[in-house]
Symmetry: C2
Subunit: 358 residues, 2 copies
């Protein structure tokens, strides 16, 4: 099985730790000792070798990928000339994988998600591999733990598919965009709905067939790139073709309309760490009710605060539900429920050309 790790994201909602020079996936945001992309690769140990692991990322991050992923062959770092969306990025990976073995199965994984239960994840990935070998584009469906309105959902069909393996595999009934609160609650009440975390497994040729059928123009561009791979023309063709690639996600462009799509449900402590308040689900609360991330908290009458301050002592006096993120040259202090506004902070820094802080 191949693995394709998608590492092109910007992660601006995790400013000031996630920076242009080192986005979210190249950071250890939880104090685990490993960056998110390292943890993503670690999670594949025993299932996919480093020789069969590929990373798609922006040109400026190729060095970070090489530095952080020991044993990853240099040629497995696939550079996007500029950031597009997941449909072109995965097509580029398919162009490379087709040259090796189009019949083989590839797992596509975002580099910037957390998964606490590695064993459970590997079981699900093995099951998805089986399902992919049986011809299905197979999504890992994350059992929802709340009526979250920030994720797309996947509805499975009733009866399990007849796919070998220890876990259940279902045909996908449909993909659903981010729901409103009432709809999300209905999904949970009904059951059979999963969060779409963007992790899926498929034979390479199955993906290529779907590109050809559903996104013929992108498929043609991909073929032009593929024909140039390994030749002196590779760079020129990529630079020529890439800018016209559509800014379309794999979900919207390919998965929603694909044939033979399956889902393997899993319950593995998944978290996309979409914003700083998500740390609350990931970090253990201390005896006083705060969440220290690589920090020492000394508190007086203070509860519910998430504090990531790089091994410093943080004294809190009479404050509640704050998020404190120290990044050396910038310090973020915000109220938990409003922390999404960090996007406006980043926008303001951009408007002010404060590149040193972005």
């Amino acid at each position: 099985m191949y693995a394709v790790i998608l590492a092109g994201g910007a992660g601006t909602r995790l400013w000031p730790r996630s920076r242009k020079s080192s986005p979210k996936q190249f950071n250890d945001l939880t104090g685990s000792g490993r960056t998110m992309i390292q943890a993503t690769a670690d999670r594949l140990e025993g299932l996919v070798s480093r020789e069969d692991t590929y990373v798609i990322t922006g040109r400026r991050y190729a060095g970070l990928c090489a530095a952080q992923l020991d044993g990853l062959p240099q040629q497995n770092i696939l550079e996007e000339p500029e950031g597009r969306n997941t449909a072109p990025a995965i097509a580029l990976a398919c162009a490379h994988l087709r040259r090796r073995d189009p019949e083989e199965v590839a797992a596509i994984l975002p580099a910037d998600h957390l998964i606490q239960d590695r064993r459970g994840f590997q079981d699900a990935l093995r099951q998805a591999e089986q399902s992919a070998r049986a011809g299905f584009i197979t999504v890992l469906g994350i059992e929802p733990t709340q009526a979250h309105t920030g994720y797309g959902y996947i509805q499975r069909k009733e009866e399990p598919l007849d796919v070998p393996g220890k876990m259940a595999t279902f045909a996908v009934n449909r993909f659903l965009e981010k729901p409103d609160q009432a709809t999300a609650e209905q999904f949970l009440a009904d059951g059979g709905y999963f969060w779409n975390g963007g992790i899926f497994v498929s034979r390479v040729e199955r993906l290529l067939a779907e590109y050809e059928r559903q996104m013929p123009s992108l498929y043609e561009s991909m073929n032009r790139i593929a024909a140039a791979l390994g030749t002196s023309q590779e760079g020129r063709v990529l630079a020529d073709v890439w800018p016209a690639m559509p800014d379309v996600s794999i979900d919207y462009g390919l998965m929603e309309g694909a044939e033979k799509v399956a889902v393997v449900p899993m319950q593995v402590g998944w978290n996309d760490l979409g914003s700083w308040d998500a740390l609350e689900s990931v970090i253990s609360q201390d005896a006083e009710g705060n969440y220290p991330v690589e920090s020492e908290i000394l508190q007086m009458n203070s509860r519910g605060n998430i504090v990531a301050a790089s091994k410093r002592l943080v004294a809190l006096i009479d404050v509640e539900d704050l998020i404190v993120i120290d990044a050396g040259d910038a310090l973020l202090i915000g109220k938990k429920g409003s922390i999404q506004q960090v996007k406006q902070v980043v926008a303001e820094l951009q408007a002010g050309d404060r590149n040193e802080l972005l």
Copy 2:
């Protein structure tokens, strides 16, 4: 005129910037570019030369005094073997000054107060010098700007004294301990009451006479030290005598019972920076309603926050009335009205033997 700068304080209420290794007075807490003791000495320019300026401080701070006060003769740094209170410290200074000229006037000044109007302060100090030459122990009385319960008060008598000079000088009716709120309000309503900021001017021999009369035992100890000054016995005698010095303030031990005490009222933007919330009276509010101290604030829906973060960007999201003090190895975040609890933080660090953070 001599000046005696009292620089023995610990300033624990201004943790984490004020530290055992460098207490409050050796720090620039307002971003002025000068430490508090430097500003105290600067404030005397034109009135007292550096040759006539003395500093009393703890032994471990002698180096800081020398480093921060250019031109101060080494022998003018008077080291207390251990921290006592102001009565012994000033007696020690008097022992030194008596050898030079007991008839001369000395101004006693705490090293850790802010005064915004230097010219006004110098006018008042000149007036106090006149009054001291006329035989009065003369306190600078700070015109109260609010019914503060954290300071001692000085009540003047009705009629001005017949002392030469441009400003009024009054006899002191009585010194008053820190009042309760109602009493403080009554003081303001009545008028004729001033905050006691611990700044006073007197002939050296007048102070010595009061020590002899009111604190004979301390006076005798001081005489033993004085007799040994400049001899090979100086260190031994100081080490022998000092530990028995009483822990008594100059106000309680000497001023309250002294004869011929005068007060020169002044209104000069005095602030003792007794705790972090005092910065609000000292730092200008920015256009968005926050108080940046050597920091850049980028705020979303955040007002009334005092932020001292050493030239870093601090992004605030939906927070109000916070005090944020960054000291490198420790970060303090507290609610404005509760910031006095920093004393408990320091106590807890002491109890935990966290000397590196004290």
